[in-house]
């Protein structure tokens, strides 16, 4: 067996992926000013879509696009209500979650216990030969590697390109963006879709790679944790990755204790840790923000935009 540190580090990466994709996705959505609390529902629908596609076509290639498409479309439902109908975004997001849970339960009935192709772990030669870093980062499954590119790309996009500037403007002051001709509604729809697609990808990761198969509510609240992590990340991709890794670490620690038979911390407490961790993280970051009087969330988050008075 590998040394404990390597084992824990590897599992940390593996456990953080679903949450990482979902967090980056929700970060983009919220940067445009739309609060989408339906992440849990979108991840579940994505997980189901991916597994269903893999099972039906007995192949992996349609699974991920299916998951992202389903997640994105599902998010557009919330988008329509929030952007065009200007419904309260908290309610619409919650409704989306409930719908997602119910719909995925309903549609996935026949798939429980079935098997399909999954993404196995493999070594990315020659990077996996690097001591220490190699086994940890480059002996993962195929769905992990895009994340390594996604985070720096997201950072570059957000802060170094005109489109990132437009996105941030729409979230801070949509009226100002509108004045200079930026299509506010279109941008909000786009990034709502992007958020849903990434959440769907996170769900696909769960049902195809992490715990292959379909189980009701298999996301176990990671959608909600992603929402909390967006706040922790202060809407920044780098910090989002850090938060996701922290979450992954808690999970890895839990696994390790169970695998190594450590009974210092009882099993049920271990299982609670990720959720307690999320609360702690939220409290810490809220106090820190308040103490530094920093401007945190996109100023227009959750507020509908209309031009005609």
């Amino acid at each position: 067996m590998e040394p404990a540190a390597i084992f824990i580090a590897k599992i940390t990466i593996a456990s953080s992926m679903a949450v990482l994709y979902a967090t980056i996705g929700e970060m983009f959505t919220e940067r445009s000013g739309i609060l989408n609390l339906g992440v849990e529902g979108m991840m579940l629908m994505g997980a189901l879509a991916a597994f269903a596609a893999a099972h039906t076509f007995d192949a992996l290639w349609p699974a991920v696009p299916a998951a992202m498409l389903v997640g994105g479309l599902f998010a557009l439902l919330h988008g329509f209500f929030s952007i065009s109908l200007r419904v309260n975004q908290v309610v619409s997001g919650l409704a989306l979650t409930l719908l997602g849970i119910g719909l995925s339960n309903f549609l996935g009935r026949s798939l429980i216990g079935k098997a399909a192709q999954g993404f196995d772990r493999f070594g990315l030669f020659p990077l996996d030969r690097i001591p220490y870093i190699g086994p940890v980062f480059f002996e993962q499954n195929l769905l992990v590697y895009p994340a390594y590119l996604l985070v720096p790309l997201a950072y570059f996009f957000l802060y170094k390109t005109p489109w990132g500037l437009h996105l941030r403007a729409v979230g801070e002051n949509p009226a100002a963006a509108d004045t200079v001709g930026i299509p506010v509604l279109r941008i909000r729809y786009l990034y709502t879709f992007v958020g849903g697609a990434l959440a769907g990808l996170g769900g696909a990761y769960l049902s195809l790679a992490y715990t292959p198969g379909w189980k009701e509510q298999m996301t176990g609240g990671q959608g909600w944790i992603a929402i909390a992590l967006v706040i922790f990340a202060m809407w920044d991709p780098g910090r989002a990755a850090a938060g996701a890794l922290l979450f992954g670490f808690i999970n890895a620690f839990q696994f390790y204790c169970q695998a190594a038979g450590l009974t210092l911390i009882p099993g049920y407490v271990l299982r609670m840790l990720p959720y307690l961790f999320t609360i702690t993280v939220l409290v810490v970051i809220t106090r820190w923000e308040a103490a530094k009087k920093r401007i945190g969330a996109p100023a227009a988050l959750g507020l509908p935009f209309e031009r005609e008075e």
């Binding site: 609390l37 439902l77 209500f81 065009s84 109908l85 200007r86 419904v87 309260n88 908290v90 309610v91 619409s92 919650l94 409704a95 409930l98 719908l99 997602g100 849970i101 119910g102 719909l103 339960n105 309903f106 009935r109 176990g220 609240g221 909600w224 929402i227 909390a228 706040i231 009882p266 099993g267 049920y268 299982r271 609670m272 959720y275 307690l276 999320t278 609360i279 939220l282 409290v283 809220t286 106090r287 308040a290 209309e306 005609e308």
Partner: protein, 353 residues
């Protein structure tokens, strides 16, 4: 083609009352599509649902049983919602209420005079839920931490603790198949009425609804709650203590959900067991929103939704449609209704070009 929403200057008159039924009709149509897709005749499906929920005295009694925790959870979420506090933690507060009440039943039945056991369990249930609501309440009031996530995370914590208890230290020594604690002594059972499964929880829930309604409409505290929800800055200007109110509302809100927990535990299961966390807390959110946070409507809607769930269960048996269809229908109803509510405040105009 563009959809333009324009704010209404004058609110809708009588046509306001058309919106909810039309929205629900839209949801029913969507459900019909879903039924058809699964291969069931929609008309027959809906008929069976209706019969299952309201078709006979017995069925209706089952509906009322199902509605009891929904009323309490709906009140829980609805009360908090009046202050624009989102209590997503009703599920966890329900579980904690069940645990607390069960604790009294399992360990103190012999120490308390038998006529006081049930009230003691009720009180414990209320306090258990209240404590679980207090945590996100304090975090929000003192530290301004988002209560949606904190209350939701505590749901998971509560459920894990529940499982630990009935799989572990509180496990039924006689090991009766279904995971759970030992059965309570009969003195700790909630009385049932009319030979059905309707139990003490229902009158308690109804009284709670009346009480909350009176408090909101006629007391100064109720006015404070509504003012904070309708205009927090103005409430602050009027020197209404917001933080203090948040805490008390979350205590009461958690307590209501806790009552739901103990009433399911001591009214139906007679033990603490798997299945206590059945989603009532989340459905309470739907109930609260569909009823626009009004206690009277919460009761009515809980009964209707209860009927939908009970009927949906029947559907599984008769037409072999997965009972999860009930959840899907609820989600569809929620969306259609919130979509419909838009028309209260806006008119829709379609502009070409």
């Amino acid at each position: 083609m563009r959809l333009i929403l324009r704010k209404r200057l004058r609110p809708l008159g009588w046509s306001r009352f058309l919106i909810p039924p039309v929205s629900i009709l839209a949801a029913i149509l969507l459900g019909a599509v879903l039924f058809a897709w699964v291969g069931a005749n929609p008309l027959r499906a809906y008929t069976e649902i209706f019969k299952g929920g309201f078709g006979s005295i017995y069925n209706f009694s089952e509906t009322l049983v199902r509605a009891t925790p929904l009323i309490l959870c709906g009140l829980s979420v609805g009360l908090a919602g009046k202050m624009l506090i989102w209590n997503i933690g009703a599920e966890g507060q329900l579980v904690m209420g069940g645990i607390a009440g069960a604790g009294v039943a399992l360990f103190f039945s012999s120490a308390i005079p038998s006529c006081l056991i049930v009230p003691a369990m009720m009180l414990a249930g209320f306090l258990g839920g209240a404590l679980w609501g207090l945590i996100p309440g304090m975090l929000r009031a003192r530290l301004d931490v988002n209560e949606i996530i904190t209350s939701l995370m505590l749901n998971y914590v509560a459920i894990f603790w529940l499982e630990h208890l009935y799989f572990g230290p509180w496990r039924d020594p006689e090991g009766r198949g279904f995971p759970g604690t030992a059965m309570f002594l009969e003195t700790a059972w909630f009385p049932r009425f009319f030979g059905t499964r309707i139990h003490l929880g229902l009158p308690v829930a109804l009284m709670a609804a009346i009480l909350i309604g009176c408090v909101l409409a006629y007391t100064y505290w109720g006015y404070q709650i509504r003012a904070v929800g309708a205009g927090a800055k103005a409430a602050q200007y009027a020197r209404i203590p917001i933080a203090r109110n948040i805490v008390w509302v979350m205590i009461l809100s958690g307590g209501l959900a806790g009552l739901a927990g103990i009433s399911e535990t001591a009214g139906i299961h007679y033990r603490l067991q798997q299945g206590l966390a059945a989603g009532n807390g989340y459905m309470g959110i739907i109930v609260a929103w569909l009823s626009r946070l009004r206690p009277g409507a919460i009761v009515i809607l809980s009964v209707l939704l209860g009927g939908l769930m009970v009927g949906g269960d029947q559907l599984q048996i008769i037409l072999r449609v997965p009972s999860a269809i009930g959840l899907v229908l609820q989600g569809a109803i929620l969306f259609c209704v919130i979509g419909g509510q838009v028309f209260n405040d806006y008119t829709l105009r379609i502009r070409k070009g």
